[in-house]
Symmetry: C2
Subunit: 221 residues, 2 copies
């Protein structure tokens, strides 16, 4: 297959939607999550995010990128009001419902109701999880960082609770997301399953890499 | 399968490596890339990254997270010296070589040589691409943002060049990464292939989501 080269002149000349699809997919596969929040009156909100990433393990921190002027609406103000929010992994059974949360509902409409997903509350958090989601992550707001280059916002949160299938956690701590049914995202609208190629051993100079053997759950079946 | 709940007390008590595996995989699937740089003398460097993400389309911006005190070594200083760097997607054929770049080589050692990958230079960039990589992204350094919560650094770059298989770009701009053979990553050491479940139409309230039909390349075969 021939290679094609694009440079900055081409980017400027791209039609707006073409450019959005192009760069949203170019950056590689993404973590897709439903972000659950509530306002002070307890009204819940649910928004799909494709910009969640790992920031650190100790303390456990995750980042997400938000555009203040556009979607997801209400999520940012709820996080700041209640200090808590949730990330909920998306599986094959709920992709239509998850994607539908990106529709522009009004402030008085609850996305859980509108798309048909079930809020689930833990005692530890002022934010709803998605019951249908198999991997549920509860976070406490830590830091808001402004990115000057394009006026996006990085929201940093500390993980304070995790609820997931016991069999998906390995003896070494690795969470087998394929086993848990978690999907990955590409671009603005694609959802994909995964199939493990390999886990590879810790790399050292002049030492050959080995494939790590089959997954062993930390939990007894 | 039973659910298991972990809270902050459990995180503190986790063994250090267990905690690293747990949180690195918990955040969802990742974009894995090789980052190519060179120093002022033209000595090249290659480092594997699992923290690249989309920041915006106009201008086209991508972010990456770095830990200043640890790996990847030399990448940050090279980016600041030369103002340019590359992201190169990882495919199945080069996962061992790609993973091996995470070994702690000395400053005088060139990862390209040490792991057996081929530098490829474009006239537009003071940084090497990886010839074996099918999706090559050239960036210009834009901004360094310090994240106070854990002293990590967000590096923002503007995409100035893209080289990829012509057949992987759709009529609507969507880049079919599965078609291009791009892998996704999980945790610290897992690499996975993807299989598309669906692309879904733009969501609007009270409108049913449709699956977007088969991929049509913008290029004639």
């Amino acid at each position: 297959m021939e290679d094609k080269r694009f440079t900055s002149v081409d980017f400027v000349n791209m039609e707006r939607r073409f450019r959005a699809h192009f760069f949203n997919s170019l950056s590689g596969f993404k973590s897709v999550n439903l972000c659950g929040t509530e306002d002070k009156k307890g009204k819940s909100n649910l928004a799909i995010l494709n910009s969640v990433f790992h920031l650190g393990s100790n303390p456990p921190l995750m980042g997400m990128i938000m555009r203040p002027a556009t979607v997801p609406r209400h999520t940012l103000s709820n996080i700041i009001e209640q200090d808590h929010y949730t990330f909920n992994h998306i599986n094959k059974e709920i992709i239509h419902e998850a994607h539908q949360t990106s529709a522009k509902y009004t402030r008085t409409q609850d996305e859980f109701e509108m798309v048909g997903l079930t809020p689930y509350y833990s005692d530890n958090l002022r934010a709803p999880y998605v019951l249908e989601s198999k991997v549920k992550i509860g976070l406490k707001f830590r830091e808001r960082v402004n990115i000057a280059s394009n006026h996006t916002i990085l929201i940093v949160g500390e993980v304070v609770e995790v609820i997931l299938p016991s069999g998906a956690v390995g003896l070494d701590g690795f969470v087998d997301l394929q086993e848990a049914g978690t999907l990955t995202g590409s671009g603005l609208d694609a959802y994909l399953e995964t199939k493990k190629v390999a886990r590879l051993s810790y790399a050292r100079p002049y030492e050959e890499i080995k494939e790590i053997e089959a997954f062993m759950s930390m939990m007894k079946e």
